[in-house]
């Protein structure tokens, strides 16, 4: 072979060439641009069209955002300033409305002197969420704040005597005590039933009188704030947080019910889930605003925000149940059988083996349900509550700001975007953190 070559090829290289640097058009910025933006005639045309598009959009939006008026008390004043500064040209935002009305957009008609209460509630919310959201970085002592939060928050928001939330919390303490001490005497199931019965009796008949007695001895109370004064992002966050917090446990129970072998339990759960998922939220809000009082004993008339929260919670839990059911179905059957073979009973198996894995699988779905619920809170403006969108209409009804649209929409949209986008980023972080499989 080699001598055939030695005859036909005039020159054969017998040493390696030194490694050369790649051509400058293949590396660095130029190489990246060629590869990602101008890899062919079609891609080049698309890139140029996209650049033009971006230019036109930014050329329209950036001056609107930044060449704008911040100090004005009415739209007319805004327009005069614009006229004086930039002449006849259109396309300048009047952020004066945000500067003047942002307390209203955030708190609605909540009394100004009590703004510290929702702010404190929000801060405590962050503190109480921290040990759950960032379990590995925050000391678990903060969990006590989390436990106390459901009782502190309503007191901070609505005011009234402190003894009501304390007595409501006492119901849980009572139930816990009964489970702890009576289980040796009447068995675990008996103590469970006794605890639930005692707690319900306590809440129904004893809470109010006992709270009244304590309140007369030691009147610790804050000024009451009416529900119709609630509004703005405070209202959205309030409804969203309560609905999200309550829908997760209810959703888990519904999902387990739907997966169970008990026919009647299963059909009740399926019926509930499919009914709620089949109707739009707005009809459930109609129920909250007009019908819920009809379904309850004559004379009951409770708070509109509470009614809305109940319906939004029911709505969210049906969706949550479906997401968790997906997670349960995705677990391999061996996990259930493994739990059985270890001799765990149903609840132990769920708590120790099934749920941790199923919830982990369903994190993306759970978070997108959360985001959906939070976004859906703006629907309450249709039944007349003053959420940000309802407030935008109220602000436009003021003669000083008639005809102002884009600034309000941009502000509200940006706020929602920040909340929802950070939630979805958090879910990605959580997914990465909980990932245990090797890749």
């Amino acid at each position: 072979m080699s001598d055939t070559h030695s005859n036909t090829v005039a020159y054969v290289r017998d040493t390696m060439l030194p490694e050369a640097a790649p051509p400058p058009t293949e590396v660095g910025v130029v190489g990246w641009t060629r590869k990602n933006l101008f890899s062919g005639w079609f891609n080049s045309i698309v890139t140029i069209i996209c650049l033009l598009l971006i230019y036109y959009v930014l050329a329209g939006i950036l001056p609107w955002i930044f060449q704008s008026v911040w100090t004005a008390d009415s739209l007319t004043e805004c327009r005069e300033i614009m006229q004086a500064t930039w002449g006849e040209s259109h396309g300048h935002a009047c952020w004066g409305v945000i500067r003047e009305r942002w307390p209203q957009l955030l708190f609605g008609f909540y009394p100004t002197e009590y703004y510290w209460r929702p702010i404190l509630a929000m801060a405590l919310l962050l503190v109480s969420l921290a040990p759950i959201l960032f379990a590995d970085r925050v000391p678990s002592k903060f969990l006590y704040v989390t436990l106390a939060y459901p009782f502190i928050m309503p007191w901070l928001m609505w005011g009234g005597t402190i003894w009501n939330p304390i007595m409501a919390a006492m119901g849980f303490v009572l139930a816990g005590l009964i489970i702890n001490y009576a289980s040796d005497v009447i068995g675990s199931l008996g103590s469970m039933i006794a605890a639930v019965a005692a707690a319900i009796l306590w809440w129904l008949f004893l809470t109010t009188p006992v709270a009244d007695v304590f309140a007369s001895i030691l009147p610790l109370a804050m000024e009451t704030v009416e529900s119709r004064q609630f509004g703005g992002f405070m209202l959205s966050i309030l409804i969203g947080v309560v609905a999200i917090g309550c829908s997760l446990p209810i959703g888990i129970v519904l999902a387990l019910g739907r997966q169970s072998d008990l026919l009647i339990v299963k059909s009740i759960c399926v019926g509930f889930i499919e009914f709620i998922r089949g109707v739009p939220l707005i009809t459930l809000l109609f129920v909250a605003s007009t019908l819920l009082n009809i379904f309850l004993p004559p004379g009951t008339n409770f708070d509109i925000i509470l009614r809305v929260i109940i319906m939004v919670t029911l709505f969210a839990s049906a969706y949550m149940a479906e997401v968790i059911r997906g997670g349960l179905a995705a677990l391999p059957k061996g996990q259930y059988e493994g739990a059985d073979s270890l001799g765990l009973d149903y609840w132990q198996a769920q708590r120790l083996i099934i749920m941790p894995q199923a919830l982990k699988i369903s994190i993306p779905g759970i978070v997108s349900t959360f985001i959906g619920v939070f976004k859906d809170t703006v629907l309450v403006s249709i039944i007349g509550l003053l959420d940000p969108l309802g407030l935008a209409n109220a602000i436009r009804a003021d003669s000083a700001w008639t005809g102002i649209y884009w600034e309000l929409f941009a502000f509200i949209g940006a706020m929602f975007f920040i909340f929802c986008f950070s939630m979805s980023r958090y879910s990605m972080y959580l997914e990465r953190k909980l990932q245990t499989d090797h890749r």
């Binding site: 996209c50 199931l189 976004k375 969108l389 929802c420």
Partner: protein
């Protein structure tokens, strides 16, 4: 040594209802059923008591009363002397119209955006990501009112179209006028057309069915059937002889010749919208409320569909693309012939739930005054008659029926395209 002992024969004890697995499930179920029935009975009892106290027992008689409100965007004829039932029926059709329009456009935009997010062109992928995140993270109601405000505030009024050097002009050869009162598009007219047939007499469900439309659908159906026969013949010949006969000109002829002949026979022409007085007349008037709702719902749902499409495409293993490339198939045909058909199986189930969401979100029409079923039955009719219970329950029933119907149809389709596994 083994001893055989009988299991202890015990009598039935009450505790066995809980601790014996043979009885436990029955116990739990009976308790659950009793609890459920007690709850239901309690709610119904409360309702009856409350309604009696209010003096308005359940009664659907209000449906035959005169509605006396107007519905401006409608498919069938309606006037304010019609009954509430007729108004609700018109509203239901409006819901179905916007849901169908929205589903179609959302699918088209969603598939396009989903594929474009995977584009090798970095800029295109980024722009599409921005679009998806922008629409997914802002409430749909905000988009709907934003589009509505945009249509009303920034489009020219009809008077801007008047005069010699008008500020605005109609587009598409003077066929379409986009104004702040809505969009005017040409309407199909037939100078020698058949007359309409009136169904259901004078009842609330009455409707005029255009014989022209039926004739067109029938002719198109026959054409498509014949075309498929020709294609089947071509495939058969190809299987028998290995050579596919060229039939595309037959197919085009069969598809277009009869329908064009029919159009000419019926005297088809377009009725252009024309400026008369302060407004346009003639043509079909699509109101702002419909356009805003349609656009907002489509773009919002398309962002979700784009993510589903992207996920579906990513779920197809890269080996499929490479194998298709090794067979010498061109990139865009790889997408349409190899990847998309397989991805469709992953895509369809979540797509169904997004269609359902779009249909349910169309109830937000009430925010921009588009008279769908929520705006009629759950809006003006409810406020006029004060029959909250009947109206809301019926409204829920209607949406439940629509939802179940959509999911039944789409599940049927899903079962058809599903990969048959052993």
């Amino acid at each position: 040594m083994t001893t055989v002992t009988d299991p202890p024969r015990e009598g039935f004890r009450l505790s066995m209802l809980i601790y014996d697995t043979r009885y436990r499930s029955a116990t739990i179920q009976i308790v659950a059923l009793m609890g459920f029935m007690l709850l239901a009975a309690w709610l119904i009892n409360n309702t009856i008591q409350n309604l009696n106290a209010l003096g308005k027992p359940i009664d659907f008689g209000f449906f035959t009363d005169t509605a006396s409100y107007d519905i401006n965007q409608r498919l069938l004829d309606y006037n304010s002397r019609d009954t509430h039932l007729r108004a609700s029926f018109i509203g239901l059709l409006n819901t179905l119209v916007v849901a169908a329009l929205g589903c179609v456009t959302a699918t088209i935009i969603g598939v396009f955006v989903g594929v474009a997010r995977l584009s090798p062109n970095w800029l295109v992928a980024r722009i599409m990501t921005v679009y998806v995140e922008m629409f997914r993270n802002v409430p749909v109601l905000l988009w709907i009112v934003l589009f509505m405000a945009f249509l009303i505030e920034s489009l020219p009024s009809p008077s801007a179209f008047r005069g010699e050097d008008a500020a605005s002009s109609m587009i598409f050869n003077d066929n379409v006028a986009i104004t702040n009162r809505g969009v005017y598009i040409p309407e199909p007219l037939f100078s020698r057309g058949f007359s309409d047939i009136h169904l259901f007499g004078d009842s609330p469900l009455r409707m005029d069915v255009s014989m022209n439309l039926i004739a067109i659908i029938v002719v198109l159906g026959i054409s498509i059937f014949v075309m498929r026969r020709i294609r089947a013949y071509a495939s058969k010949t190809q299987e028998a002889t290995g050579i596919r006969p060229t039939t595309w000109y037959y197919q085009v002829g069969v598809l277009f010749a009869p329908i064009i002949a029919l159009m000419v026979f019926l005297g088809f022409h377009l009725g252009k919208p024309e400026l008369s007085g302060f407004n346009f007349s003639g043509g079909t008037h699509l109101r702002n409320s419909l356009i805003a709702l349609w656009l907002a719902l489509s773009l919002y749902t398309a962002a979700f569909i784009a993510e589903i499409v992207r996920g579906g495409i990513l779920a197809i293993s890269h080996g499929q693309t490479e194998a298709a490339g090794a067979l010498g198939i061109r990139p865009n045909r790889i997408m349409s012939l190899v990847v998309l058909p397989q991805a469709l199986r992953v895509i369809i189930p979540p797509l169904i739930s997004n269609y359902l969401n779009l249909t349910k979100n169309s109830s937000l029409a009430i925010a921009v005054g588009y008279m769908d079923i929520t705006g009629t039955l759950g809006g003006i009719t409810m406020n006029q008659t004060g029959r909250e219970l009947e109206c809301v329950l019926l409204l829920m029933l209607v949406y439940l029926t629509i939802s179940l119907a959509i999911s039944a149809v789409m599940n049927w389709y899903n079962n058809r395209v599903k990969l048959v596994e052993r």
